[in-house]
Symmetry: C2
Subunit: 423 residues, 2 copies
Amino acid sequence: MDYASATPIDLSVLQKMNKILKENYANASSLHDLGRESKKILDQSRKDVADILGARADEIIFTSGATESNNLAILGMLENMSRTVLDTKMSKTVFDMKIPHIVTTNIEHPSVLEVYKYLEKTGKAQVTYVGVEKNGIVDPQKIKKAIRGNTVLVSVMYANNEIGTIQPIKEIAKEIRHFKKTRDLVKFSRVLGLGPDQLKNFLSLSFPFFHTDATQAINYLPINVEKLGVDLMSFNAGKIYGPKGVGALYVKRNTPVDALQLGGGQEFGIRSGTENLAGIVGLTEALKLTEKIKEKEIKRLSQLHRYFIEKLSNSIEGLKVNGDIENRLPNNINITIPKIPSDLLVIELSVKGIFVSEKSACQSGDRAGSHVLNAINNPKLCKRNKENSSIRFSLGRQTKKEDIDCVITTLTQILKKLKKWYN
Amino acid sequence: MDYASATPIDLSVLQKMNKILKENYANASSLHDLGRESKKILDQSRKDVADILGARADEIIFTSGATESNNLAILGMLENMSRTVLDTKMSKTVFDMKIPHIVTTNIEHPSVLEVYKYLEKTGKAQVTYVGVEKNGIVDPQKIKKAIRGNTVLVSVMYANNEIGTIQPIKEIAKEIRHFKKTRDLVKFSRVLGLGPDQLKNFLSLSFPFFHTDATQAINYLPINVEKLGVDLMSFNAGKIYGPKGVGALYVKRNTPVDALQLGGGQEFGIRSGTENLAGIVGLTEALKLTEKIKEKEIKRLSQLHRYFIEKLSNSIEGLKVNGDIENRLPNNINITIPKIPSDLLVIELSVKGIFVSEKSACQSGDRAGSHVLNAINNPKLCKRNKENSSIRFSLGRQTKKEDIDCVITTLTQILKKLKKWYN
């Protein structure tokens, strides 16, 4: 019940990785036949991934995971901007005065939010966090209103990792396109303190660019980048029944992203380091497979999802489902059970062999409250209040109806016991 | 003959990785039993790696490879310094005036050198590149002389990837310690433009820190960090018969390194991202194994090495061995054959099933000359001259005497043919 934290590797994917690990260990940068064979497999993987996303091969950058992809998208763009300023010999002072601005939401993953905290703290960017509605979904109009003349990036996650709500990526892309078309370029050049010619050099006509963290979305949502209208899209293999430690970033042509990790110049110079060929093949095979069974899995899990929620509502008094009930991933059930501490529930369930998550697994280490739950609840009610703790059940390929029945039975028993103490 | 570019994975290492991939896929940050099991394996791996290096578990940071480790060591330290300046409310202007200084050599790996180029270009650091001697080894006295009051980092690779020369890491560490002990703190505080109290806050008493890229050294050289006297040491699994896409950075306690990749706060907050547990176990097992057979392999390869050089010298007229003949890795033979273009030789050998490298594999993509060969040769003679091209044979666990005989025979035949055209 914790597939959103990690997925077991698909055995056919593992088999293909093992073949690479055993036979194609040569460095893809080597000139000799073994190296060229590795390079060929690398190129084919890149093409396969691009095909699935409706992208071009040179728009796919392989990374070490979604965290790196998110960091590269955001910090890489700011790195490019600051270098562009240096290259065009424009005064750094002018640029620093007009600090770049980023628009995002208040329910992004830590690998996005922590980057913003860093940028704000160091004065490298201004960030507007658009609050999501009570249903955990952001209003595209509010994103649009937050865009300013110096907004270089809009970044909105495709589906939330904690509550599974799906963000209106297409609609946001439409608003951004509309902003670009209709903005007052003369006024804009004044805002940035640049002349019209400098403006042109300064990528002005194309920003804000649009990034989405699609890590949780890949298994269940359409991922054609052209149709979505995104310039940057992050994801990894570890959440789609592939290996951990490998991810990708889609970077649309002419989207300014500079390398953060420097060296041998691999991945078109945007991400140096000997390629993790087995991992890349694992990512590619996992992506192919998830795409192949996507429609069937959505149908199957949607049914299980409805069944699960119905059963839960019938058996638990005062149960609250967090996040929109319709626009959510078919594998995510996030609930709040009044008065019962969620960390205790995780442990009690674990004893019975049921593995769930409370808040985001990535944050389970520290005991800070969930920024996602804070975003969708009344903060006055929620702060340090048990009402704000939540359990996330996330289903996956191996989940069957019997599993859900078992969870319901066990959960009901545990709650019966716990309610004696927490009442 | 190209083990320095990539090593085949050891099958016992692969077996252990497969066990993790199949059974321990849970996110190590999850609270439940499966997550805790992953965390336990992660902790044990960290402890095992630390034990082998003579370090403490909290000094080991797992990364995506040696390139990331090198980037993290250097950029992470500068990141920390610039944050320290902000945190202590010292004027950024004062700090910018006294730009941090780094001492290195002119034969480092691109994943170090490219970082310096970037730092110099953006004005974030000054870098002194100490030239190695004609034998490809740096003089510790020259490193010492290059250290200034504002030197924050000395970074010298342990063994060179192209010519295999071993750098005197212990001796350099000794010089750095001596510098720290005897430096004039009053004068130093004036150099930095700080009062004595500010100085203390500013890590002044401990820098310069000492980093070494040990990627090529791990298989054949002593790697006890205490005995070496280093504060930071980079390496990866892909060069020690483990998987690609995973590496480590040893960070001695109290060595200031800040995260470059932000997010969930894994790896003590220095390197965020879901842990690549199978890769980490692969790295650990590979390190254990290489340590176990190190002494035996050194002996075996040293003999093969002597045999190879002797045979080469006897069969090729005008042959030059690049780099010191004694202080080099026992698996590295780097030679220059007069007048024969090395890229052509790589291809001719490859046709015959012999895979070698010319220059560093990481740079084979672009055709720029080797900075290492330029460093040890007379630049006037070498520029765009075939005398400067080189072939690297690198031996490994599967190399036998028969292989060397086969290489010699084949190489002699190819040279006979090529000499008709290049004379």
